[in-house]
């Protein structure tokens, strides 16, 4: 295993070198970093200064060398605004990591759970609903979904928080949800009779309504502040408060972007898990396990799911690397200054050569690393690879 990692890293180094040269040349020819300055009156002084700081009057290979020798020391240089890129890059990575990690965890957990149930109960009502929802999420434009979330998940919900309570309709809806949930939970096994499912449903309804009543009683005459944010990851008014209020505020801001990202990934993961599970569920070794008398639960989780997990985890690792390079739309819509923002700043308006290079190199390293991680996980999970 260690040899595999070392070998792959050794291969990656010349690849990244070639990549950096290529990208440097591309970036150098992608546009004029001085375009905006040229379009501004009385800017010749600023043009001269920026030309000097970006070494624009030096030949490209000298520029590359200047960039490269700095980069080796971890210095990504300064951007068009005269700011050091390093801190911006680490900050952007941290921010993106937060939302990508949270959304991936959410999407993987939900996607795998729903995918497994869908596969185990193929062609059931649950399966059809899950399929419908996945395709809906797939087809939905991200920004549109994000705006929808903002309107209902933030504005409306915050309005409700300011004057909370559960109306009769709320009682009924939540009760029905509870009923559905319990009847599904207790009726998971195919053998459970309709009557018992019904009883479970009624009990669930009653239980949920009771809980609702408690909550409603609790909420009466209270008012909460507008918790869910639609932009940024923090509210500056919390900056000087304690750890818990700050964490709460932070989560209130992460909720919507994480949901947005998770929903997109969820759709993919649930479909992928379903397909993978269907394949393993019909595998001969699953039949063998059943023939051995292994319980259905163990058959599904120990035999079918364990094997189905191999491709899923691999795809998740690769996906993670890819989204990490920038959930550009999500970050833009929620004004989150992560890798996507860095990318846009570097390339969208005036090209910012050092920033673009920093972004592209980090993204390239990222892809290499996550490919390696995917390979390692694959080898860890699949003994057939391990021994080759």
């Amino acid at each position: 295993m260690l040899r595999l990692i070392i070998r792959r890293m050794l291969v990656a180094i010349p690849m990244l070198l070639v990549c950096s040269v290529l990208v440097f040349v591309l970036v150098a020819n992608a546009g004029d970093p001085l375009e905006a300055l040229r379009g501004r009156p009385n800017s010749q002084q600023a043009i001269a200064q920026r030309t000097a700081t970006l070494h624009l009057n030096k030949p490209i290979f000298e520029r590359y060398w200047l960039w490269f020798s700095k980069m080796l020391h971890g210095d990504f240089g300064i951007d068009n605004k005269g700011l050091r890129i390093g801190p911006q890059l680490w900050r952007a990575m941290g921010t993106t990591l937060q939302i990508v990690l949270l959304s991936t965890i959410l999407a993987v957990c939900l996607g795998i759970a729903v995918g497994v149930i869908s596969a185990v109960r193929q062609y059931s009502f649950f399966d059809y609903s899950a399929t419908f929802v996945s395709f809906l999420f797939y087809a939905m434009p991200v920004f549109w979904f994000a705006v929808l979330l903002k309107v209902f998940g933030a504005i409306e919900f915050n309005n409700w928080l300011e004057n909370p309570g559960i109306g009769t309709v709320g009682f009924l809806l939540i009760g029905l949800l509870g009923a559905g949930f319990t009847s599904m939970l207790f009726g998971f096994k195919r053998t459970v009779s309709k009557r018992r499912r019904l009883i479970a449903g009624i009990a669930g309804f009653a239980g949920t309504v009771l809980v609702c009543l408690l909550v409603d009683r609790f909420l009466a005459d209270r008012t909460y502040f507008r918790w869910i944010g639609t932009v940024n990851t923090t509210d500056p008014r919390f900056a000087h408060q304690g750890f818990w209020p700050r964490l709460g505020d932070h989560l209130g801001h992460l909720l919507l972007p994480v949901t947005t990202l998770a929903v997109i990934s969820y759709a993919g993961y649930s479909r992928f898990t379903r397909a993978s599970m269907l394949e393993t569920l019909s595998a001969d070794y699953v039949r063998t396990a059943r023939a051995k008398g292994v319980s259905e639960r163990a058959v599904i989780f120990k035999h079918a799911f364990r094997t189905a997990l191999i491709p899923i985890v691999t795809v998740v690792a690769l996906d993670f690397g890819a989204i990490f390079g920038g959930a550009i739309i999500t970050e833009t819509v929620f004004s989150i200054q992560g890798m996507g923002k860095l990318f846009r700043e570097a390339l969208q308006k005036d090209i910012d050569p050092n920033k673009a290079m920093a972004y592209l190199i980090v993204t390239a390293i990222n892809v290499v690393v996550f490919n390696l991680i995917a390979d390692i996980i694959y080898a860890k999970l699949d003994p057939r690879i391990r021994h080759e």
Partner: protein, 586 residues
């Protein structure tokens, strides 16, 4: 309503409700709310604040100006009519005591201090002058000045954005313990009252760079010390290091108290502020770089003031926000068509005249700008805008589209209508390319409307979109007409670079020897009346030459959620926060 509906169901859970009552009163799990009233007003910034020194060429950004308006002291500020008004907070007086040589005496208020307790004084004025007068150049390792090979411009020691004005000043002298400043010019500068704005604290630069006295170092030509001071001036104020309260000091009603990169800047009342206190306790800038998301943040009460670039969708969005107060005005940035005098076609006056006569400026405004700014008008002056008192409509014949006159103008010049409906002379068809930035749907529409109108006049117009027109098209001269916008300025001294012979922003190489003296006068005239007269004379000449044709002002939008007062649009580069100290919650 909730209580009665709940009552119907309550019977089921009387017992449980009693238990709940016991629990719910014992502990309050409510999250600690931030102070709701008492004065935080949040503004949605489209770009991030990134440096306290907006005078560097790296700085010089609107985003920084918005934050710094109520933080840094300025001698004069632009009001909402773009007039320069003396800051009575900072100065007792600012007097032009002599016009030959131009001499300005500033009397700084005795109690004016930076937030670290150090007095605002002459040293700060001297630093502004030293850093931007352009006399200190970077020395290469061999001791020769570093220059930009393309423009021949020297690379300065202090990385200043512009030397305009300061380069005219011969000396900045101190008196009265630093509270009186005398600036003496060796060449008159008309916009003297725009100088010494956004002052940088000299004592901070000195302390951080280890230079005892920058003015003395300048006087002594102590290049080592000056280099140290310049190093800090250039890079020491950037926000990438976070907020250092000992660096980003304030001499305004607000001071910067917190900065979260990528998120927000918080201004709070400056305890050392000697002037009229601000109405709000705190002004917060939250970074919302996607303008279309700003109305949603407004609706979610995350921000109270937004100024996104307007478009019809955004206005419709804002209409849905209850209580929102929306206003659209024309600003200083204006769209125009610029002729290339190096082109064989557009160097001919009749061709330019014919084009000006078929350019459907009113139609462009009606179709593309009125939907966003109902009060938008065609701009008919190159030097003043409709909201200014000096504005005069000098367009004359070109005020309206006149196809017949366009044709007769061409025919009088020997052009003949070809079989393809396009005029030609000496085998040359009257076909002109309009260079414009791409992608830009609005400009594409402008060119389309122009092409349709001018086709009737027998002029063929070809759209020439390019991503980087200032780098790729304008320097090559391979175009007839350039369509772009000038980020305008109320300073008449800034006009020279655009219109004068060989001006750095005179891309079309327009030249008129009768015009140049007027442009010179615009930079040196100290009498406002004479300045306006010179600008008017210059404008008439530019119209007569049909050198460039202004079309419309870019619309600027100001919207609040209706809970704040005192937010007033300002068309200049000061931006909406020019009067932040007067913002207040209703």
């Amino acid at each position: 309503m909730r209580t009665t509906k709940r009552g119907k169901l309550a019977v089921i859970a009387v017992g449980l409700a009693l238990v709940a009552a016991a629990c719910s009163d014992s502990k309050d799990t409510k999250t600690t709310a931030p102070p709701a009233k008492g004065g935080t007003i949040t503004y949605a910034a489209e770009q991030e604040f990134y440096t306290y020194n907006n005078g560097t060429s790296d700085g010089n950004a609107f985003a920084n100006a918005l934050v710094l308006n109520p933080v840094q002291p300025s001698t004069f500020y632009f009001d909402d009519k773009a007039a320069l008004v003396m800051s009575t907070d900072l100065l007792d007086s600012a007097e032009l005591t002599s016009t030959s040589p131009e001499t300005v005496v500033y009397k700084i208020k005795a109690d004016a201090v930076w937030s670290d307790g150090v007095a605002v004084d002459c040293k700060d004025f001297q630093l502004a002058w030293i850093s931007s007068n352009g006399t200190l150049t970077q020395q290469g390792s061999d001791g020769t000045p570093v220059t930009d090979p393309d423009s021949g411009t020297s690379v300065l020691l202090f990385n200043t954005a512009s030397t305009t004005g300061y380069e005219n000043i011969k000396s900045v002298e101190c008196a009265d313990g630093g509270k009186t400043v005398t600036a003496t010019y060796d060449k008159n500068f008309s916009d003297w009252n725009a100088l010494f704005s956004g002052l940088i604290p000299a004592h901070v630069v000195e302390a951080k760079s280890g230079v005892a006295d920058i003015a003395k170092a300048y006087a002594d030509k102590n290049m080592a010390d000056l280099a140290k001071a310049a190093e800090f001036w250039n890079t020491g104020f950037t926000a990438d290091k976070g907020i250092d309260p000992t660096v980003m000091v304030s001499a305004g009603p607000f001071m910067i108290t917190s900065f979260t990169p990528g998120e927000s800047v918080v201004l709070e009342k400056n305890p050392k502020w000697w002037g009229t206190p601000a109405l709000a306790d705190s002004i917060v800038f939250r970074l919302i770089d996607d303008a279309t998301q700003q109305p949603i943040a407004l609706q979610n009460k995350e921000v109270q003031v937004i100024t996104p670039q307007p478009n019809p969708d955004l206005l419709a969005q804002l209409e849905g926000v209850s209580g929102a107060e929306v206003k659209v005005d024309g600003g200083y940035t204006y769209e125009h068509m610029d002729f290339n005098f190096a082109s064989p076609l557009t160097k001919q006056l009749p061709v330019r005249q014919a084009f000006a006569l078929c350019l459907p400026r009113q139609e462009i405004v009606d179709k593309l700008i009125i939907p966003v700014n109902p009060s938008a008008v065609v701009v008919n002056n190159h030097f003043y805008f409709p909201f200014q008192s000096e504005y005069v409509d000098n367009a004359g014949d070109y005020a309206k589209v006149d196809i017949a006159k366009a044709k007769s103008t061409l025919e009088a010049d020997g052009w003949a209508l070809g079989s393809d409906g396009i005029y030609a002379k000496g085998g040359t068809r009257l076909s002109m390319k309009i260079a414009r930035k791409d992608p830009n749907p609005r400009r594409a529409s402008e060119v389309q409307l122009t092409a349709a109108s001018c086709k009737e006049a027998g002029i063929e117009i070809i759209d020439q979109p390019n991503e980087d027109i200032f780098s790729n098209i304008l320097p090559t001269g391979q175009y007839e007409i350039a369509l772009f916008a000038w980020v305008g300025s109320p300073l008449q001294s800034s006009q020279k670079a655009i219109f004068t012979t060989g001006g750095s922003s005179n891309f079309g190489q327009y030249t008129n020897t009768k015009l140049d003296p007027y442009l010179d006068q615009l930079t040196t005239e100290l009498d406002p009346a004479k300045l306006a007269a010179a600008a008017d004379a210059a404008d008439k000449l530019v119209w007569a030459d049909v050198a460039t044709i202004p079309i419309f002002q870019f619309p600027d939008l100001t919207a609040t959620d209706g809970t704040v007062t005192g937010v007033i649009y300002n068309p200049t580069q000061a931006g909406i926060t020019w009067n932040a100290q007067l913002w207040s919650l209703k």
